[in-house]
Symmetry: C2
Subunit: 371 residues, 2 copies
């Protein structure tokens, strides 16, 4: 227990037996530990009617409501009886992710923060919910990402064909599975930006009317700034050996604010940057270690003809397909993945791939909330 | 799934069966819902390399480590074998609590935010962890507090004696249980400030050397400002009918910054304020509805002779005891309570008391993380 007085941590070790009026409780130990001053000060700063903390807390619960409504609408649209649902897997919205340790208050801390309160889904839909998948992998020493490679391995592995699953979401990531490979043979990591930079620039160019560059039309009006592209690709991230993760921290507002030049040129350059960084990553870290017979793309980037054209040009030796060809809707793939991860957790089975996240061991991911 | 591109909510309804290489997956429905613009903008503001969000995320994981170390040290000090632990209940540190709905982005949202990552406890101690108890009650329409009354009812109820359990922590709260009462007869609510105001003023008076007013020594040097006390007690909170909750939002930094006058006088006034608001609450909302034979105090306030003296003077008709007299260490009580709540959740039993929180129904509280 840590109370609102913020004085520290109270630990009680208690023997408990029975239930209801037969509940028996005896206290075996009780010790209080004051918070270190730095921690207490940071907590005071974070909690004391801080408007930003209020916003995060309110968004956390509001997203829970929006998630529940989205599930209800989906069932209605698809004519699926809501009470036929048995389990919900909810990734939540990542608002911070730092997969590697950084100095903090005299310690070293890696952390991740997903919001979207699972209790609201459990209440509204009357179904158990597994949520918050990443922290358990990080507690086991992993980077908390990528988690989808477990699902890629389950769905894509082939006894005689080496395959890469490429997802181009906000961030892009690959899972490379050698022919007949075991889980520990999988190479999976974030290759860098996906659509995040292009999406933000497209919104800027259209004063917010477009959320992405439809059919790469804006990119087509610009020219790639080769010097800028080369500078981006020279970032140490692309030389760093996998496993590794990328995030909004790297390609978010600060990255964008550093850019100059015509907006269409910036969009064209960013549209080249994503496939170039994907191809570079595959050439550096995958092809030296396994033969790849085919690559399956999923995520929003599969709809960007500019990115897909670059990808085909940069990886001429690898046939490029969309994941739909294996029966997995390219847009739905990440959502399907978290349904599968929840299913594994429900059955008490681990579902992180240590070869992908860097964890010391497999772990049962997520937290279970009861309806 | 909601990805880092922040574009919205993807819902996949998936039939899953089998396991390992026999895993079978088929997608029954997939629908995407863009975030409303206001929500997306708020998420962008909260997540885009925002230093405050980074602090919350890092504190979340750092507290997990500190909690795990506190449990390890407790076991060592008390010579309890760590592998004899079977279950951990972790309340976490509340950094925001708003039990009643407030307008937010065009909706009405109540929310609460506890940090302290349970996965770290599960990993370090190899034991299942139940954490994050309050949101499930709020999803069921409750205020998420107080939760201890369930435990008070289990431990304090008496067939022939009406009892009040009073806890004076940062905030003060009471649980009133009539003789032979049923769960729905319990009246429980936050009465207002506990030690929070006095603690903050004591730290101010001693330049941070004291975290509380030892033996009410600082209060003894001051005089109660009766006009100020009367003004504080005239706050609409004290007229509001229970159930109701109070928090750091009400008596935190902003409250303190509004105060003037000698620091000792402010401490003396705050030392009277807590017992005065407790007595007022009991007289207004408890005694008209039940006979009370005795009151048991727990929490740090039980060690403040100033508060205890006022309490005895203001409630002359009720014998006042410390909870230790019933075998419950007054300092350990809240920590013991969350062990009991975790135990109930582990056994799949609800442990909120709707009469205390205002929830529409009992609910199994918390989230379960596997070791």
């Amino acid at each position: 227990m840590s109370g609102t007085s913020l004085d520290g941590i109270d630990v009680a070790v208690v023997d408990i037996a029975g239930k209801g009026s037969g509940l028996r409780v005896s206290t075996a130990a009780f010790v209080s530990f004051p918070y270190p001053k730095k921690v207490r000060d940071a907590l005071l700063g974070a909690s004391n009617a801080n408007t930003h903390t209020a916003t995060i807390s309110r968004l956390h619960f509001l997203l829970g409501e929006l998630y529940a409504e989205a599930v209800e609408k989906t069932c209605r649209q698809a004519r699926i009886r809501q009470n036929s649902l048995e389990l919900i897997g909810c990734h939540g919205q990542t608002i911070f992710h730092e997969g590697q340790e950084a100095p903090f208050l005299g310690r070293h801390v890696a952390s991740t923060l997903q919001i979207g309160e699972a209790s609201i889904l459990a209440e509204r839909l009357g179904v158990p919910v597994v949520s918050d998948f990443r922290p358990r992998d990080m507690a086991a020493g992993g980077r908390g990402a990528p988690l989808v490679p477990f699902v890629d391995y389950a769905l894509y592995r082939h006894p005689r064909r080496g395959r890469i699953a490429l997802n181009i979401g906000g961030i892009a990531n690959i899972t490379a599975i050698p022919a007949g490979g075991r889980p520990e043979d999988v190479i999976a990591f974030d290759t860098g930006p996906g659509n995040m930079i292009v999406d933000a620039l497209a919104a800027e160019a259209t004063s917010g009317r477009w959320r992405y560059d439809r059919d790469a039309r804006l990119a087509a009006k610009g020219e790639v700034d080769l010097a800028l592209l080369r500078r981006w690709l020279s970032s140490p991230f692309f030389s760093q050996r996998p496993p590794k993760t990328a995030g909004r921290e790297q390609y978010g507002r600060e990255f964008l604010e550093g850019l100059t030049g015509r907006i269409e040129d910036r969009i064209a350059t960013a549209t080249a940057f994503t496939p170039a960084s994907i191809a570079l990553s595959i050439q550096r870290f995958v092809l030296p270690r396994m033969r790849i017979a085919e690559l399956y793309v999923s995520g929003g980037g599969a709809h960007n003809p500019g990115m897909m054209a670059y990808l085909a040009a940069l990886l001429p030796e690898i046939p490029i397909h969309v994941s739909n060809e294996l029966g997995i809707d390219s847009d739905a793939k990440e959502a399907i993945a978290f349904a599968i991860l929840a299913y594994e957790t429900w059955h008490g089975r681990p579902s992180n791939l240590p070869s992908a996240t860097g964890a010391r061991h497999p772990a049962v991911l997520g937290k279970l909330t009861r309806p």
